[in-house]
């Protein structure tokens, strides 16, 4: 029986296999490609930006796209392409950290609420419900008023308003799984609480969260853009897709290319993360895997 070299890979779901499956799915592959592309841009942004994104040149304001300025310039004569490239960094940094943080906190709270004793569940659900019953925009405005606008405030708001949804998603799944036979079987076997939570429950509930998180990234980018548009997010002159859209709208009549240029990456990011989420949903589920030959 030497045909199987190592019949026991350490990972419960070997990464290469799920990646391969993601790539086999055309939409998932497209999503992954777009997301990687945006990530790459965000990482190498300072080196590929053709101009200093903050450098004002009033003489060259509101130029149409040209060989010199591929995406034109804004009302202060700053190069739009350079600002978009640096804006990618801001957008992804805020969106990924905020959703990631909210996802992790939501997951932990959801696990505790779902698997823990009933009184903890009661308290947590009450807290989460109160949090999500606050009207979001008002809540955001209130926090910003107290702490002042800025990237960190923005992230705090996003994390706070996203946690309840994620926590509830995980909690609902944990509740249905905690009495499942395989969890009972692990208890009979004497598995420790961390083992049950992390090895057996988590892998079975995290899939939908990953998908929702991936689909929420563009929502957060939009939110950041929206709040920045209201001048409540990323502080100018720091470039962000949102405040660029704002600048574009104010000078829409003189130069429409600015709005279009700032809108394209937003659309691209939305599609990319949504496709990736859909692809991940299929790739992460072993039940959809073909039987091994």
């Amino acid at each position: 029986m030497s045909s199987a070299a190592d019949p026991l890979p350490r990972k419960t779901l070997p990464l290469p296999a799920s990646l391969r499956r993601l790539m086999a799915d055309r939409m998932g592959a497209a999503g992954a490609f777009i997301v990687l592309f945006l990530l790459a841009i965000a990482i190498i942004a300072p080196w590929i930006a053709p101009y200093d994104p903050l450098k004002i040149n009033v003489k060259a304001k509101l130029l149409a796209p040209s060989w010199e300025h591929w995406a034109g310039t804004d009302h202060l004569g700053r190069d739009t392409l350079s600002r978009l490239i640096l804006g990618t960094r801001n957008a992804l940094w805020i969106a990924l950290t905020a959703t990631g943080l909210a996802g992790v906190i939501g997951m932990i709270l959801g696990l505790i609420a779902g698997y823990g004793p009933r009184w903890i569940d009661g308290i947590l659900v009450l807290l989460l419900d109160s949090l999500s019953s606050l009207p979001m925009i008002m809540f955001a405005l209130a926090v910003i008023t107290v702490l002042g606008p800025g990237t960190q405030t923005l992230m705090l708001v996003i994390v706070l308003v996203s946690i309840p949804g994620y926590a509830r998603l995980i909690r609902a799944q944990v509740l249905t799984l905690k009495n499942a036979d395989f969890i009972q079987a692990e208890r009979v076997m004497g598995a420790s609480l961390p083992r049950i939570l992390l090895v057996h429950l988590l892998p079975n509930v995290v899939g939908p969260l990953v998908i929702v998180l991936s689909m929420d990234v563009p929502v957060v980018i939009m939110l950041e853009a929206g709040l920045s548009y209201l001048n409540l997010g990323v502080k100018p002159p720091e470039p962000s897709w949102g405040n660029m859209l704002y600048d574009g709208y104010t000078s829409l009549r003189q130069q429409p290319s600015l709005v279009i240029a700032a809108g394209i990456p937003l659309i691209l990011a939305t599609l990319g993360f949504t496709f990736l989420g859909e692809g991940l949903r299929d790739a992460l589920d072993p039940k959809l895997q073909k039987r091994l030959p």
């Binding site: 029986m1 019949p7 026991l8 079987a185 208890r187 004497g190 892998p203 072993p286």
Partner: protein
């Protein structure tokens, strides 16, 4: 008779188990008004070393609840559980875990869906130690013991057939060489030709390793072939217990008798003309007064409606809960 040198392996004494019915959203506030449902009562039984005890009951008899309570998955309301003469408490449950194993009714559902078979069968070592030096080799050896080829280690639970999943669960149950295994409906959903394979495997293990089994089933044919002694449950009470052969030959409780007489006989020359039992098992919410079985009992008398019978011994090793039997 001389006293046995060792205490029985597992003893249940006067176990009672109640469950609180879920109330409305404000249930937490009205603590006094909780509805309590009695699931099991006055259950006493013991499993000797190297024997197989069969528990028979129809749905609603509480047989699965009893198994789960015996393994500490459900809190008991009163009574005592002990293993090797030592009382089981939440504190020393870890010791119980190592020495016992359970095989669930639905084998596929009882395997963690995102783990491969190889990881699943070796997981007991990861939990209790010692960690095997070569996990893959250990997995292959365990699979071989239950007659599965080594390639199975790569499979996920949903890729197994019912019979294969049973074998994987058996391998997992046996990994730590337990002294006591509880098997809940070990042949549910299996074809007759495969059913025998699983039961023979369990019989081999019992013989080779002296494992004690508690087999829970509604299938009388299975219990007759696998168990040394049986207990019959009806609405959460043990109504009869004794050596399998004797109970089948001369059932003492009218419920046992009607269960045996209800089993369809494949021999057309022995067709059962009379209906042995009428009516359905009453709901636990409306437990009959007196003897629980009186509503369906063919020989019930006035006393059966009024007084609850207690379990009494009618012969060495045989007990029955009936006013009129014996």
């Amino acid at each position: 008779m001389t006293a046995p040198a060792k205490p029985p392996l597992y003893v249940v004494e006067n176990l009672r188990l109640d469950m609180v019915l879920p109330g409305g959203p404000l249930a937490l506030l009205q603590r006094s008004d909780r509805r309590v449902l009695n699931i099991l009562d006055d259950i006493s039984l013991q499993v000797e070393r190297g024997e197989t005890l069969g528990l028979v009951g129809e749905s609603g008899s509480g047989k699965t609840t009893l198994a789960r309570a015996m393994l500490g998955l459900l809190p008991i309301s009163s009574g005592k559980l002990s293993m090797n003469g030592q009382e089981l408490t939440p504190g020393n449950m870890a010791q119980l875990r190592r020495a016992t194993a359970m095989m669930f009714q639905d084998p596929i559902a009882s395997l963690s869906p995102r783990m491969r078979v190889g990881d699943l069968v070796t997981e007991p070592f990861i939990i209790h130690g010692p960690r095997p030096a070569d996990r893959a080799a250990t997995a292959r050896a365990l699979l071989a013991q239950v007659g599965l080829p080594p390639e199975m280690a790569q499979r996920y639970p949903h890729e197994l057939s019912g019979g294969q999943a049973r074998r994987v669960c058996t391998a997992r149950a046996l990994a730590l060489e337990p002294a006591f295994v509880i098997a809940d409906e070990p042949t549910a959903g299996l074809d007759v030709s495969v059913q025998g394979e699983i039961l023979n495997l369990l019989a081999d293990l019992k013989e080779q390793r002296g494992i004690s089994f508690l087999i829970i089933t509604h299938n009388l044919a299975v219990i007759r072939h696998t168990s040394d002694r049986i207990g019959i449950l009806y609405l959460g009470r043990l109504v009869e217990s004794g050596p399998t052969r004797e109970v089948f030959r001369a059932p003492a409780h009218p419920y046992t008798a009607s269960l045996i007489a209800s089993e369809p006989d494949p021999d057309p020359r022995r067709r059962r003309q009379e209906l042995a039992i009428k009516g359905e098992i009453p709901s636990l919410l409306r437990r009959p007064s007196g003897c629980e079985f009186h509503s369906r009992c063919p020989i019930a008398e006035v006393i059966c409606h009024q007084t609850r019978p207690s379990l009494r011994q009618i012969a060495p090793g045989r007990s029955v809960r009936c006013h009129l039997a014996g």
